[in-house]
């Protein structure tokens, strides 16, 4: 422990060290109330993020009795979403307390797995993924309790009601025909078993239910939606847009899963008030967060039971009927093991944890995991290539007085321009850029301004309103050997085998990364940017938090895990609600597609239940 090694007491910091005793006591009480005899339930939903939240909402509002199992605690939204807190409100200026620390970029590649075992972290009580910060550290998991093995992977997990939707990036982009029919277009791998036309109505409904901000652009690479009031570009972004328009490229307002006009029939949410601090949890709940947008309204129907502290280790199989009979749960705190039963199991634990539960659900008919007759379970892991980024100062705003530039939920966006109508000689698929510019709260670029003294200080001010920076998201090809398996030895703190990663970016990704850096430099030059800086190194695998594909869907049970309604080929009453059935990842942030696909799957399940087929 840190204190023992130094004999120092950390400074009291009430803004950072939140008192969560009330919410943990409430979570404990709620967990104790719900036992396997508290049912019956029609459906068990595992996980409470975008997938589990949407599944619970769809089923409960249809009058179906749902048991939602969340591995972490309930959340105290008003206390934990510290949206507008200034850094100087905290003694540590938003650094973590001394006994906690996130993994640094380089450590992902240079520290052996499991990361938490390394002696350099021995003095820290909690070691988080890179996503751990002053606002998220009570939600993201401790790597010491949740190890991984195998190749480096920046796996970000949150165990709390709402999961990662409490701090997600709000990018709400649709997959289009270029993703669903990618194989037809370039000959690599297989198409999805469904097309954009199958999912488009569900994207529309998600837009209407949750609110999505954006502009109509008519681009096939990222289809339009049912948009609320869009965000605006600021001055440096307008300069950049005009410069790259001459190259035939677009720079459009970001599409945000945030209600800018308000949503109907949800008393927990208000419209966006342009504060620009959504990633800490939006305490107006204008940003989509699963608890207020989906779970509380679902609970208000009276058909949803939530059991926190419920770690699901496996899906239970009734070998006589070849149907799942429920799930095995270990209580996070008491470690009591309980079997909860229902007619249907919906897994929405996140792509990789859903896969882990299935791999761990071993039985004599399915000795390598439930749903794994095809041997596709755990394979075809994909996410987005990140790290290629660039910045420069846009002359129209150098030396000007700062304006409000960051009061919006997401920055603008350069949609994919490679392999849309043309064919790039070096690589298939494509990438997009997200970013933005103008005056932000913290001038991170100041460390690149040379010197010291009055000249340094006034140069920081001079360039402060003029910064523009962008980062790329590239499609990672789904390949069979990029996979996860269960580690035969290592278990997590609750005795569940952990995932062993065997995942590396390949040649297509390397060539794509080179082109990303070149095209970004080309665009910044076209905009006349000064002091252009391009980062050409990719970030560690997993950084995008957009993992997809480890239980891919398909029409052929020999090569895929689920059918086109995300139902296991092996067992007809297990459905996957997260991104695990996605065949490929495109370049788009995954959350909006998870919500739309889950709604579609739940519509199918509702009909199965109504017709008495499950």
């Amino acid at each position: 422990m840190f204190q023992a090694s130094t004999g120092r007491q950390p400074a009291a910091d009430p803004t950072l060290t939140l008192d969560l005793s009330a919410i943990t006591a409430e979570s404990r009480k709620q967990a104790d109330l719900i036992t396997p005899r508290s049912g019956p339930w029609d459906v068990i939903v595992v996980g409470s993020g975008a997938a589990g939240g949407m599944a619970a909402f769809q089923l409960a509002t249809a009058g179906i009795k749902v048991l939602l199992l969340e591995a972490g605690r309930m959340i105290d939204v008003p206390k934990e979403y510290r949206t507008m807190e200034w850094p100087y409100q905290s003694l540590r200026r938003h650094r973590l307390p001394p006994d906690e620390r996130p993994l640094a970029i380089a450590e992902y590649n240079f520290v052996d797995r499991p990361y938490g075992n390394d002696p350099r972290f021995a003095n820290y009580k909690k070691l988080t993924s890179y996503a751990g910060n002053a606002f998220t550290h009570n939600w993201v998991v401790n790597e010491k309790e949740h190890p991984t093995t195998g190749t480096p992977y920046a796996w970000v997990r949150a165990r709390v009601l709402g999961g990662k939707t409490n701090f997600w990036g709000r990018g709400a982009l649709r997959y289009g025909p270029l993703q669903f029919k990618a194989a037809t277009l370039d000959g690599f791998d297989v198409d999805w078993p469904i097309g954009y036309e199958d999912v488009a109505p569900y994207y529309d409904q998600v837009d209407r239910l949750l609110g999505c901000s954006g502009t109509m652009e008519g681009l096939q690479q990222v289809p339009d939606g049912v948009f609320q009031r869009p965000t605006k570009l600021n001055c440096v972004e307008v300069s950049f847009k005009r410069a790259i328009a001459k190259m035939g490229r677009h720079f459009i307002p970001g599409r945000a899963g945030v209600t800018t006009d308000g949503v109907l029939h949800n008393k927990y949410r208000s419209r966006c008030m342009a504060r620009g601090r959504c990633g800490r949890g939006c305490d107006l709940n204008a940003a989509f967060h699963s608890p207020t947008a989906l779970i509380y309204p679902a609970r208000d129907t009276g058909h949803l039971t939530i059991r926190p502290y419920s770690i699901v280790s496996e899906v239970l199989l009734d070998e006589g009927t070849n149907k799942a009979s429920g799930v095995r749960v270990m209580d996070m705190a008491t470690r009591e093991v309980m079997d909860f039963r229902a007619r249907v199991v919906v897994l929405g634990a996140g792509c990789l944890d859903t896969t882990r539960i299935l791999l761990n659900s071993k039985s004599s008919p399915y000795p390598t995991g439930l749903g794994n007759t095809s041997d596709a379970l755990g394979r075809y892991l994909s996410e987005h290539l990140m790290g290629i980024r660039g910045s420069g100062f846009i002359p129209t705003r150098i030396g000007t007085e700062p304006t409000i530039d960051d009061a919006r939920p997401v920055g603008p966006y350069v949609p994919r321009f490679r392999n849309v109508t043309d064919k790039h000689p070096d690589f298939i698929r494509g990438y997009h850029f997200q970013g933005g510019g103008g005056a932000g709260e913290y001038p991170g670029f100041a460390t690149t301004i040379p010197g010291f003294g009055k000249a340094f200080k006034s140069n920081v001010r001079k360039f402060y309103p003029a910064l523009l920076s962008l980062g790329g998201f590239g499609e990672v090809l789904p390949v069979k050997d990029n996979r996860v398996t269960l580690d035969p030895q290592v278990k997590d703190a609750w005795g569940v085998p952990v995932l062993k990663f065997d995942f590396k970016f390949g040649d297509n990704e390397r060539k794509m990364a080179r082109d990303m850096a070149d095209s970004l430099e080309e665009m910044l030059r076209a905009a006349g940017a000064e002091d252009i800086r391009i980062t050409r190194e990719v970030l560690p695998e997993g950084w995008s938090i957009h993992e997809v594909g480890t239980a891919r869907m398909g029409n052929d049970p020999k090569t895929s895990v689920t059918d086109k309604f995300c139902r296991l080929h092996d067992v007809p009453n297990v459905y996957l609600a997260d991104a695990s059935p996605f065949v490929s990842g495109g370049t788009q942030n995954t959350t909006w597609s998870i919500l739309a696909m889950c709604w579609r799957t739940m519509d199918f399940l509702k009909e199965e239940i109504r017709a008495g087929r499950v």
Binding site: K79, W86, P87, Y88, L233, C235, M273, I404
Partner: protein, 207 residues
């Protein structure tokens, strides 16, 4: 001090319902007080790690890196040395030693060249010292050069997360409750006074 938006003010500006009130931020008065006490300009420093002379040396260095000017106070008034002291208090032994050695090396250099420690140097002497120490900022070679980079980075972090740095120096205007975010006024079809750009003629714009 610029006050954070209180529940009452936020409620009023939102015209929010009672239902929404339960979801507004929890603002701890104690939390506000805790940082006020350390940042009040007049408060006597009570460093946890640094001695009085080390604190004085550091205070001279950070103020030389980000000094007061016609626009805003500098790192001294923003209490950057208190911030660094807390950083050292909560860091590990290696970090503390790195800083204490660095301060000692700076003082030794000041005494060798000018016959007095850093805290006593007149401005032009301190400027000379830092000019030399910052010569290889991109690739620092000597202990002094490395310590300059370390101190500069911590000064940037401490100053631009302070109230003085954010509000008085940078004049950052965000993190407020706004009805609408405007952006560049050309986006609304007007001439933009902030960047001087003109709107695209409406005949060229998409519907």
């Amino acid at each position: 001090m610029k006050k954070p938006v209180s529940r009452r003010v936020a409620l009023k500006s939102l015209g929010a319902s009672v239902g929404a009130a339960a979801l507004l931020p929890w603002l701890s008065e104690e939390g506000v007080q805790a940082f006020v006490s350390i940042q009040q300009t007049a408060a006597t420093p009570q460093p946890r790690v640094l001695s009085a002379s080390q604190y004085a040396a550091l205070d001279s260095l950070v103020e030389a890196i980000i000094p007061a000017d016609e626009r805003s106070p500098g790192a001294r008034e923003a209490r950057v040395s208190d911030y660094i002291d807390l950083l050292l208090d909560e860091g590990d032994e290696a970090l503390r030693q790195q800083w204490l050695d660095g301060l000692a090396a700076m003082d030794a250099e000041a005494v060798a060249r000018f016959g007095m420690p850093v805290a006593k140097l007149p401005a032009e002497r301190l400027d000379q010292l830092l000019t030399d120490a910052s010569r290889n900022e991109q690739q620092p070679q000597t202990a002094l050069e490395r310590f300059f980079v370390l101190t500069k980075q911590a000064t940037i972090a401490g100053y631009y997360t302070s109230e003085i740095g954010i509000h008085k120096d940078l004049r950052y205007k965000g993190n407020q409750v706004l009805a609408v975010f405007h952006g560049c006024l050309t986006e609304d079809g007007q001439d933009c006074p902030h960047c001087g750009q003109k709107p695209v003629p409406s005949s060229d714009r998409k519907l």
